[in-house]
Symmetry: C2
Subunit: 226 residues, 2 copies
Amino acid sequence: MKNLHIQIDINSALYSKNPNSSELGRKIINKSIELIYEIGFEAFTFKKLGALIQSPESSIYRYFDNKHTLLLYLTSWYWTWVEYQMVFVTTNVVSAHERLKKSIEILTKPVVEDNEISYVNEVLLSEIIFSESIKGYHTKSVDEENKKGCFKAYKRVVRRVSEIVSEIDEDFKYPHMLISTVIEGAHHQKYFTEHLPALTDVSNEEDSITQFYTKLVFNFLPREKT
Amino acid sequence: MKNLHIQIDINSALYSKNPNSSELGRKIINKSIELIYEIGFEAFTFKKLGALIQSPESSIYRYFDNKHTLLLYLTSWYWTWVEYQMVFVTTNVVSAHERLKKSIEILTKPVVEDNEISYVNEVLLSEIIFSESIKGYHTKSVDEENKKGCFKAYKRVVRRVSEIVSEIDEDFKYPHMLISTVIEGAHHQKYFTEHLPALTDVSNEEDSITQFYTKLVFNFLPREKT
DNA sequence: CATTAACGATAGTAATACTATTATAATTGC
DNA sequence: GCAATTATAATAGTATTACTATCGTTAATG
């Protein structure tokens, strides 16, 4: 499953020069993930990244207008990658309940395995998404960027899962609200577990977050007919 | 209810000089809310705020170390204020279900009324909280600040409502996860409605968000015995 | 082999996020 | 009522950030 060599296509509004098209570009992606993971998005600068990859900042600017756009690129990459995972896991599964369950698992379980083939470390990237991606769309430029399609990958994921919800109950009024609540919620809970435990319920069980959000979703829906 | 002239006490780790103790301090709070609301937290600087209140930036630095601390102060103020509202609305209500319902309403309904007595415009402040407060705790300094008690007000609100949940079902394992999901979720959905409608279900009904999250919570809990 | 594109090296600018100093005005303590 | 303290204004200055511009060299392509 992991070694399909899929091509992750990113909206061209998110880069000036496609980082996937050159050695340097891939190095920028690869190392920016490490650096953002390490020092956080606020402290991250193109100058520091330049030092790390031993290229001048001006070269990085040839690929990305600024670090905000780079974050949107990484986020987009992540959701496209998640979408592939979801498609893979749900194809040929007849039961909508089962497809929904598997989708929620992908959306709420930690990413633990790096495929090591692409230049992207998905484990580190997912950590960045959990704690930093929100900064990508809580900005004054969100409407403008939304028009350009910068958030399409995320929206596609939400839509895809919402459609399974609607397949189970076509009268349910809030499928998108439900799924975006699950996604954002799971990210928050992971963050809270590590940093603000009073806002969650830390337990020994590994997948309490997945359990909680799975129950949350199915609480809204009718049981599967057997 | 609104005109109680309550004193909002904020953890002293969040300021160098208490802004509540002087005219200038109150002006800083009052105008920073307007300015952050208007131009967003990233574009907000002490220099611009200084220009607005016609004081030099150095004077503002006497009250707050930086704009991040100011945001934490505002957030703390907001949650303390919300807690007062919640206490007020739930006191003397015997039914735990009813208290929970009213609490969720406070947490998910938009703030529409500014009490005009204090120097804080709660309507604008709530908008800031919805779209910017998350930036206050998604930082590398979160652990350190958490130790100093910078997030106590938020935690108190979550705990208070979680306790009602536990009162209704003492075996329920995730009361804090449930309530923080509701709070953060409602904020997100409000933001999505305005900026990323594909991630939510915008409807004509005013309080669809409140309805959704109320149902979400009560789905997990047993019905009230009558 | 010539042309073009990509990259590295270097320099420079405006804005940001502060810190420091000193003078003046307002409060308070006695 | 005056001295002492404290708060604020005015001004200056620094390091860092977030870029933009120029130019020479190398690598890829036709």
